[in-house]
Amino acid sequence: MARLLIKNGRVIDPASGYDGVADVWMEDGVIKGVGAGLTAASSEVIDATGLIVAPGFIDMHVHLREPGFEHAETIESGSRAAAAGGFTSICPMPNTKPVNDNATVTSYMIEKARRHAVVNVYPIGAITKGSLGEELAAIGSMKQAGAVAISDDGRPVMNARVMRRAMEFARSLGMPVINHCEDLHLSAGGDMHEGAESVRLGLRGIPGCSEDVMVARDILLAEVTGARYHVAHISSRHSVEMVKFAKSRGLAVTAEATPHHLALADRDMKPYDSNYKMKPPLRAPRDVSAVLEGVKNGAIDAIATDHAPHPGSEKMQEFESCPFGILGLETAIGVTLEQMVHPGSIGVARMVELFTTGPARILGIDRGTLAKGAAADVTIFSLDREWTYDVNKSFSKSRNSPFDGKSFKGGPVATVVAGEVVWKV
C-alpha cells in the first residue's frame, strides 16, 4: 500500500497544538506519525523544506452545481479546483437542481464524489423542501445518507417559525443549522451593498441591516432551541458584533467569513463588473475591518470560500441581470495570507485553525487533524512563493473571479488526500 513521507516542513497541527519542523508519515490512507528524522523505506517522499505542512484544509461552503448545472461546475471539476486551492474536504450547498432536500440527492452527490472527486465531499442538505422556506426537508434521512449540516444557502429561511422548527429538529439530530442571512424584503432588488457607491453607480442597494436583522433573529432562536447555529458568509459589522455577543452568552453560535469579504470593499469593485457581484455584497470598508477583526478575535470561527461558479454567458450581461457569486477555491489561501497573515493580524497557526479545526468542529467531522490514525489529508503551502492567478487556467468550469491576474505571495503547493498527492504546483 502507498506510503508517503513529507519531510522537513514546518508542521502545524492546531488540534494537538504542535508547531515545529518535522516529518509526517502516512500509510494506507492514514497518518502514521509526526516526528523528527522519520525514514520510511520504499516511500514516496515530498521535501517540504521551507513550507507549511498542515492538516487538510476544509471548505465548508462551496457550490458544485451538480446535479443540474453541470455547464457551470461538476463535482469533479469543483473538486479539482479545491485540490488546486489546497482543500482536501469541501461541503457543497444544496441549491442544485433538484435541490438536495432528500436522501436520494444526497446519496447521488456522495456516489458521484466517490467516483469522480479528488477530495472529500460532505454534502449539506436543505433546511426546507426545495429551499422554498415553507416545509422542512427530509433532514433525518439526509443525515443518514451523509449530509453534515443543513442550509437553504442562496436563500434565507424567511419564516421564523420554520427556522425554529428546523433548529429544534437539527438539534435532536446533532446537526448544525447554517443560514444565509438576508431579509428579502429589505434586500429586494438590490445588486450591491447599499451605500455611497450604490448611490453613485445608480444601483439598488442591499443594506447591511438586511443581514443584521436575520442574524439577530436567529441568535434568539438558537437560544430558545439550543441548536448549533452557524452564520454563513458573515459580512456586516453589526452581525459580527452579535455573533461575538452570542458566544459570550455561551450559545453554540459560530460564523464563517469568505476571503473576498476580508479583501474587498464596495469601493474596490470595478464599476459594473459582475466578477464583483455576490451575496452578501462587498460591504463598506468599516464592515471589512469588522470582519477582519472578528477573524482575529475569534468571533468568526472559519474561513469558507462560497465558491460560486457561473458560466461566462451568465456573467456577460448588464450588471443587474448577472447572477450573484464568484469563484473562491483556488485563491483562498493566497488572499487569506495577504489580508491576515502577512500584515501580522494573525499567525500562521491561527490561519490553519480557521481552515481545519474551525470548520471540523462546526460540522462535527473527524478531519482537520494530523493525529495518528486520522485520515491522511494534508495541505502543504508556502508563505512566500510568488505566483499570479490566471483564471483561464482554473480547474473550475467557470471563470468568474475578481482575482484574475492578481499576484500573490504564498499559496498552496501540494494537496494530499487519503495519502495520495492529488495536486501539486
Binding site: 453607480l201 444601483l203 459594473y272 450581461q317 443587474e320
Partner: protein, 312 residues
Amino acid sequence: MAQGLLGIESLSREEIQEILDRARDFQPREGQSFRKFDLLRDRMVVNLFFEASTRTRTSFEIAAKRLGADAVSITAQASSVSKGESLVDTLNTLGAMRPDAIIMRHAASGAPHFLQRHLGIPIINAGDGTHEHPTQALLDARTILDRGAKLEGLRVAIIGDIAHSRVARSNVHLLSKFGADIVLCGPASLLPEALKEIAPGVTLTTNMDEAIRDADVIMMLRVQLERQHEPGFSASEYFQFYGLRLEHLKLARPDAIVMHPGPINRGREISSEAADSQRSVILNQVENGIAVRMAVLERVLAVRKKDGATAH
C-alpha cells in the same frame, strides 16, 4: 480605446467647458432654425434605444443630421432583443456594421459601461438606468449659462425622486465640478443620505420650502413611476409636499429659473401655472439639447477621426 461619453463624473471641468462653449456655436439665432453643418459627412451614428424615448432620440437624430452625419434609429422592441439576443451580441452585431458611434439608452445602470469594455466603437450614453444622463446635464448647464455668467456659487435646488434619477446624478456631478451649491430635495425614501458623499457641495433636505429658498435654479424631476419599487406616496400627497406651484417661486431669487428634463407630468410634480410661467425655461432646454448633442457628437467623432486608422 474608444472615447465615447459615458458620464459626467469622469469628465474634467475643462472638458465640460469645451463642450458647453462649442454648443454655443451650434445654437440657432433668434427666430431661426438650426443651421446645417458639414462637419461629420460620411460618418454614421446608430441610435440604439432600449427604453422608450421620444425627445432624446429625436434630439440626437436631429443633432447628427445637422452635422451632416447619417443616423439610424433602432428601438429594442423592433430588434432581435425581443428574440432573446443578449446585449453583448446585439452590440457586436451592430458593431460589425461599422458605425462611427453608438448612442445608447438602456434601463440597466452601467449597461453602456459594460459594453464599452467589450466594444471598440465609442458609446454615447443617452441615459443608463438610474445612473447618468450626461447630455441632459450638459444641456441643463448650457441653459443656465444662457441666463447668467457662471455656475460657480449658484444655488441649485433639484427636487423629486432623486434616488432613481439619472438626471439628478449627472447634474450633481456637473454642478459640483463648477462649484455650485446643490440642494437635493425629495421624500426621505427617495433621498439617500449617501448622496452627500458622491460629490462636494451637496446638501439634502426633505423640506421643499427650504430647498427653494434663495435658489437661483429650480430643477424639477419627473416622478418616475416606472422606476419606483418602493411603497411610495400617493399622487395627491406627492404634489402637496413636492409639487412645484407658483407660490413656491416667491421663496426663490427674483430671477430664478424653473427647469424640468421632461416629459412633464402636470399636476404631479409641477403645476401647469409653474410649468408655463415666465420663469420656466423648459423649452429652452429642449432646444439646447440639440446644440449640446451636436457638440458631443462632434467631439466623439472628431476624436475618432484622428485615430481612425488604428481603431479598427
